[in-house]
Symmetry: C2
Subunit: 201 residues, 2 copies
């Protein structure tokens, strides 16, 4: 073993020891996590669907409620139909909110979508529920924050929930177990490139 190899081995052994100690320190073995993906960057919903995929891969069942986004965004929905009845899906189906220009209709659609979500939150048949763009519905006061937080807190204890959308409310972040902020470092739209099929939709 030369010097470089020896240094590498020592460094990696130290890192493994730290990681092993960290794993050993964990005391709560099973808990339904409240996960929030927020921030201005890409990947919030996409990472939510990635978690759905992982849960399906682990043999679990997934519920999806899409707030704000409508029927035109169908790539992930089409893909998840592969998993048959292990995926349950509800879309508000009004398109992006700035296309409806009718607040009363948006509020009513959000309320219906939340009723679907509430039912999923206590359904023992589900392992993960993705509340896609819920933060947008909360930001526009389409849904009452207090009621949403109460329903999330009253969910089945082992249910994992993923909430996506920019501008997550501070009270939601406070309630969450895991929060990731997606930051926009660079975007191809700025270089004049259109939304790409299979990537943006």
């Amino acid at each position: 073993m030369n010097d470089e190899e020896a240094r590498h081995r020592a460094k990696m052994a130290a890192r493994k020891a730290v990681q092993d100690a960290e794993v050993a320190s964990k005391t709560i073995t099973e808990k339904g996590l409240l996960i929030v993906h927020t921030g201005p960057g890409k990947g919030k919903s996409t990472a939510g669907f990635g978690l759905a995929l992982r849960m399906l891969g682990a043999g679990g069942r997934v519920g999806v409620v899409q707030f704000i986004k409508g029927a035109w965004e169908t790539g992930e929905r089409a893909a998840l139909t592969q998993f048959g009845e292990r995926v349950r899906w509800h879309s508000m189906g009004e398109g992006f909110t700035w296309e409806t220009q009718d607040r009363a209709r948006d509020v009513a659609a959000a309320a219906r979508a939340w009723e679907m979500a509430r039912a999923m939150l206590v359904d023992p048949a589900l392992d993960l529920v993705l509340l896609d763009e819920l933060n947008i519905a909360l930001r526009y006061d389409y849904l009452p924050l207090e009621g949403v937080l109460a329903d999330l807190a009253a969910r089945r204890p082992l249910l994992h929930v993923v909430v996506t959308g920019r501008n997550a409310k501070p009270a939601l972040i406070e309630a969450a177990d895991l929060v990731t902020e997606m930051g926009a470092v660079k975007h191809h739209f700025a270089a004049g490139v259109k939304a790409q099929k299979g990537i943006e939709f």
Copy 2:
């Protein structure tokens, strides 16, 4: 229509006009994007798998090469087997690097994985290639940065590529079309909660 509704409608109409103008300003209609997910937060690989799922939903074909991560992380792999031959997969299969403690073996495994990636980058049968944790392999100098950048630049023009892993090299960010930095706002490990099946693996 009351005042609040009128204000909402005017605001949403203005927003829609801005969005329509933005869409109209895009001049490049089709381009294979180089996408980078980096930063210390969760969701980098997960959003990569979410993009793979979306592309599969759009009828496309996906290649995955996993650098660093080994065979134990099987949730997304198991899920993607649903899509049969539309998904091609290669894992370095050595587990996390700090578990091998053998630099020469890591370098050799990374080189083999890159050969698989290179073949995918020019394969007309693929629409998206996910190079999971490539940034880690680059950070440890398991692969030569210059060669990797050259191979990425020489890829099929319509191929989308997603590179994940923290500490993305500045030259890779420079070359990328779309870069998201995942920031860690809050993590349940800090509260003593173990990694959860279907969420972390």
